[in-house]
Amino acid sequence: MFNFCTDPDTLPQLQWFACYLTTGKHMGFYASFGTVLLLLAITAPTALLFGFGGASAARARLLPLRWFGKAYIALVRGVPDIAFFLFFVIALDQAFEWMRHQVKCPDWDQPVRQGNDFVVCAAAKMPLGTSPQWVHETYGFFLAVLTFAIVFGAFAANVLYGAMRAVPYAQIETAEAYGMSHRQTFWRILVPQMWVFALPGLSNLWMVLIKATPLLFLLGVEDIVYWARELGGTANPRFTDYPHGDWRMWYFLALLVFYLGFTRISELALDRIMRRLSHGQATAAGEAQRRTAGGPP
């Protein structure tokens, strides 16, 4: 990166580190922080959408749909999320390949599962064996996002379902008394009012989501954990210009600090949003704000 980096062996400490921390591999490491942020940016709204679907399904009048919604919420509560991560990554991949297999190779007569193998025709492979590396990486990332969205969608569904039930029942009765249909009541009365009740749960969920991002590593994405292990491991002078001992501890310390900063900033931002939303609301937080502002008791 810098001009003086041509011969690292002769450099003084400070310059050596300046060179070491700007190698191509380290640039990959820094870019992987972007991967984490990208994952959060895509997953958060998608999970919210899944959650909304799940919560609506759990309230549906159609019995099978209601069962589906409730099972979706309950299952993720009872089973470790990491088990879901490991499950969905393979299961989704196989589901996609199987569907493509059905469409593209209808005259294939062998079974898809042969003993311990999962065999689909070459045209149904996801992604195609001939496609370039970046397609494979993007597909892996897409699977990871979908997995995160399904798992955290269930958490969000749990929160939103509770928020929907927290909306005072009188509001819904009033809507029905005015002759609104079931659909109108849901969209015009229930949904606009539930967000205040959902916000504490959703901000908690955001924190949980941030803290779940290192699990990307388990899904085979080259994320910050992957790079920290790669770069921190003992570097042999035969293969690199920057030999060093086992520094993985320091790399993970850096990740620890990164996450601490990230959650702290989120916490401050969420507090601020909550304060703004509670302003003038007939809730305990709103009441406390009114009192400190000098309102009558």
Partner: protein, 268 residues
């Protein structure tokens, strides 16, 4: 090989008793049930010990965080902040590599590089921080009248804490603490995916489940089995904590009792 034979071979495989070699092909349903169940021994071990030890540190942390003394308050606040603000997965990795480097300093740290002690230590500190925050919240919401009544009756110091403050704190914190216990047991599955080596393939339930899923390319059998075991554990926790909850609330009239939520909310 009959199923009973498989159970004899593999039921205690995860703690090193029985057959050394894992099955390599022709996986039967019985093998999967037995081995994943065998791995559950580790999950229960980690969860139970971390929970029991963490309970006491959590009480101390809550008292520290609520203390007017700055020298006690600041360390407790920082401890809780560090362990609650960062992912457990990263904590495991960091702790493992920390113990690896400390191994060179003193041989005391040798056992810490294996999961049974090292991961247990991390889980213990982690759950203490989360429970400490829950207890702290409960400590602040103890009704003022209860404490005033204790003063009026002449309770003070240790006796007031033991008889009034602590039981009330536990009573208020219990539903959230139940939730934390469930999360802790779920978190134990991370251990063998985060640096700590599974020595001689002696791993926890998820370790074996992913072993089967990798070998058979079929996630639809081992993971549901794992899910079933964990739902059993979750139900057991809810049951046991429900009993304790009833005990903590036994002096209250029926309508004022803290009802255990059947659907615990997300509180982490």
């Amino acid at each position: 090989m009959s199923c009973w034979q498989t159970v004899q071979d593999y039921a205690l495989r995860s703690i090193g008793i029985g057959e050394r070699l894992l099955p390599r092909d022709d996986f039967t349903l019985c093998q999967q049930f037995t081995l994943i169940g065998s791995g559950m021994i580790w999950n229960v071990y980690f969860g139970l010990l971390a929970l029991l030890a963490g309970f006491f540190l959590a009480t101390a942390l809550a008292l520290g965080k609520a203390s007017p003394n700055r020298a006690l308050r600041k360390p407790a606040e920082w401890f809780i902040f560090v362990f609650r603000g960062s992912p457990l997965f990263i904590q495991f990795f960091f702790a493992y590599f920390l113990f690896l480097s400390l191994k060179g300093v003193s041989s005391i740290f040798d056992p810490f590089t294996s999961a049974w002690l090292g991961a247990l230590a991390v889980l213990f500190l982690n759950t203490a921080a989360y429970s400490g925050e829950i207890f702290f919240g409960a400590l602040l919401s103890i009704p003022r009248g209860d404490l005033e009544a204790a003063d009026a009756y002449g309770f003070s110091g240790w006796k007031k804490f033991r008889k009034i403050t602590w039981p009330t704190m536990l009573r208020l914190a219990w539903p959230a603490y139940t939730n934390e216990a469930i999360f802790l047991f779920h978190a134990t599955t991370l251990v063998y995916f985060s640096g700590f080596p599974a020595w001689r393939q002696k791993g926890d339930a998820l370790y074996y489940a992913s072993y089967f899923a990798d070998k058979t390319f079929n996630p639809f059998i081992p993971y549901p089995i794992l899910a079933m075991y964990f739902i059993l554990v979750t139900l057991t926790i809810v049951g046991v904590f429900g009993l304790v909850n009833r005990h903590l609330n036994r002096h209250l009239p029926a309508e004022r009792r803290m009802r255990m939520r059947v659907r615990p909310t997300l509180l982490r």
